[in-house]
Amino acid sequence: MALPSPEKPADLLLNESDSSVSPVDAQNGPGHSEQPLLPWDRFSCWLHCVCVVGFDLELGQAVEVIYPHSSKLSDKEKISICYLSFPDSNSGCLGDTQFCFRFRQAAGKKIPICYALDHLERDAPIFLKSDPGHFYGYVYFRQVRDKTLKRGYFQKSLVMISRLPYVNFFHSLLKLIAPEYFEKSEPCLEAACNDIDRWPAPFPGKTLSLPIMGVVMKVRIPSCYDKPGTIQIAQSCQQDDAQVSVVLPTVHEVDLFRCFCPVFFHIQMLWELVLLGEPLVVMAPSPSESSETVLGLVSCISPLKYSSDFRPYFTIHDSEFKEYTTRTQAPPSVILGVTNPFFAKTLQHWPHIIRIGDMKQAGDIPKQVKVKKLKNLKTLDSKPGVYSAYKPFLNKDEEIIKQLQKGLQQKRPSAAQNAILRRYFLELTQSFIIPLERYVASLMPLQKSISPWKNPPQLKPFSQEEFMKTLEKTGPQLTSRLKGDWIGLYRHFLKSPNFDGWFRRRRKEMTQKLEALHLEALCDEDLQLRIQNHTEVETVDLVLKLKDKLMQAERERLPVKADTLSRLRTHIETVIGTLPEDLQGILLKPGSPQEATS
């Protein structure tokens, strides 16, 4: 590269990313060579569809347009989208409002995830993987007075339906598209969707240049190899570029401080509630506040994945309304964001309720408030705060509260407050999870117990008591100065869905690692020598077994060394070569019996 100006390292970084994956490169990029692209293939890597939801005087809310026209939504899904795309109740959202919702995909049909997303599925951090059972809806809602309309108001939502949890990205995208769409209608949507259909697929770890509506958005899709808590994309310092390119510092992170500002005295308790998967409801004056707060809660335990259901905006029309609000069972382990005052009554029996007042008052410095008693929660006009009988396991960290308070007094920018809070949560979660990681790693059998001619050894079982014993010496006290009942917190966590989800993934990863090590051990063997003393039947059996292994490795993308698979293929061919010719013909055929049965 020629002549980078030495005093502008940040810009240099930016430039580097400018052209790293332009839509042109991506055509030849990884994952794109296998199949020809059909129209909307690229689009569907990012979005399932775009909907316009309007208000019809006779029908109520209705999906007016679905784009691309070929995209499929069941009637049930359409109804969900209709209700979730408008603020419910009489909240006076005048002007433009943005929020997000999440809904269950209708049962019985599986939409195959775009094959170009293989890389995303493998290399995305666990909390950012696309969600096969749910859709996200990202909404841009406009409500303005319009005397020419019978209803007196223009009310319309532009909604993007996607599996990707990139809230910040889609909100920025809608901010570019929606205002133009409301003014210029359908050609604008057509053009925007065609822009998106030329984008490269989201690729973890890469900075993408995404042209849309006359600007180029630059985003970096996080990768599971990123160090948590580091900023991955250089910010543009040039203002005159703003019309030409927009750099997004993050695709998915919400402003935690803004979310938690009304209740920031309780952040640590909220962290515990989320970690333990306790039923939690956020009552907010508008969907933008409810959705932002729910997403903030879910992300406060990152890099742990929140494993239960969460609904950034939940309405009484939701298909899970009955399931989640029934009084015949204990409240489920979910986080709901609601705005309809009706919920204050329906969810009265819930153990933890966060009530958020109007964000307009957020400029005020919240005074020290106690956790409120649940019986004080009135149906209407309750004061903002956290209503719960929960006693936190850990002692309160006064320092972070003081730090944030000081920031408020000094009018520290929200971005800086957010960074402090995010760092705090990250350190807390890591202190909590490291002892578990360490213990689980010790469940791995020794390398020497792997024999190429036996099945791979099993992982040792997880024993709660043994794990608890490790805490005495290598517990969270090594990395956190917080005191309190850590043991109690772990005991509850081990029963929670978050632990279950986390441990399943770990166990799968470790089992695959064992399979991979076993495969490598097998490749190191001299197979020709081995088959010399074996019968033909046994050799055929070996070939079939090896083929099976190879297929498994390819299917599950086992973490093997780069050349292992090609070595295995060579081995298979060599062994087949030692067999009589008629057998060779059968075994070398691509659709040999083994492959047909598996």
Partner: protein, 258 residues
């Protein structure tokens, strides 16, 4: 830096490419502006090297805007016509005088129904390429309207204009001569630089885009230098007393009032 592929060899511009015809050119100099050359040698190009310039391509339906871009960016030519929906986009990287420089090429739709959204795509362009078909005199007439529309979203003093005739291969020499007179006249009126190309044969396509890249690059560096110079003057003034500078501005104002 390692993962950024080097600029393609055939995208390196060491000298100023010449105009197509001196009669209708933005400038007729043989070499880059001396200030620009010096700045590039001394690595004083500021942020230009990390910059992208936005170029928009406008013109009537089916005059060959997409073909022109495809010939240059992908070196392909597709005889079948496929209407552009909304906008196409290509990014092209160059190295001018040793400095990396990128062009964003926004290829807009010529169809009437997309005109309403065009303004969205026009914003912030550094150069406008107005395309007409040399075999279709009406498309030349319409270039005026395309220019007006595109300039609504851009500052006319800060944007370079190119008027490009396409499909030269379809026109006989005699036919072309007649159109050229009109086209050159139009280019002069618009203060645009005139070019004629064939995307089918590739005639003049590379030359044209190199010229676009070079002139936008030069403009970028000059404005960058101007900015840093004015900043330097401001600093000096702040250190010494600023009486001289005050006098200057007063004088300028007085001139304005006359």
């Amino acid at each position: 830096m390692s993962f950024l592929p080097p600029v393609r060899r055939d995208r390196i511009i060491p000298n100023l490419p010449q105009c197509y015809i001196k009669e209708a050119a933005l400038q007729c100099k043989d070499t880059f502006h001396s200030k620009v050359k010096r700045a590039c040698q001394d690595q004083r190009t500021g942020t230009v090297g990390f910059k992208i310039s936005k170029i928009i391509v406008v013109g009537d339906l089916a005059v060959g805007k997409t073909c022109l871009i495809n010939r240059f960016c992908k070196d392909t030519f597709d005889k079948n016509y496929k209407a552009t929906i909304g906008v196409d986009f290509e990014m092209e990287r160059f190295e001018v005088l040793g400095v990396p420089f990128s062009l964003q090429l926004w290829d807009t739709a010529g169809q009437e129904r997309f005109k309403c959204i065009a303004s969205t795509y026009y914003r912030g362009a550094q150069a406008i390429i107005i395309v007409f078909d040399v075999n279709d005199i009406a498309s030349l007439d319409h270039t005026k309207q395309w220019l007006l529309d595109a300039l609504k979203e851009n500052d006319p003093n800060n944007v370079l204009l190119f008027l490009v005739g396409t499909k030269k291969d379809l026109s006989s020499a005699a036919q072309y001569m007649r159109v050229e007179q009109d086209a050159i006249k139009m280019a002069k009126e618009m203060k645009a630089e005139y070019w004629v190309v064939s995307s089918l044969t590739g005639e003049n396509v590379n030359e044209f885009f190199f010229r676009v890249a070079s002139l936008t690059f030069e403009t970028c560096v000059l404005s960058e230098l101007e900015k840093s110079e004015s900043r330097r003057i401001g600093d000096v003034v702040r250190i010494n007393s600023n009486s001289h500078n005050l006098y200057e501005t007063k004088k300028n104002k007085a001139n304005c009032c006359k």
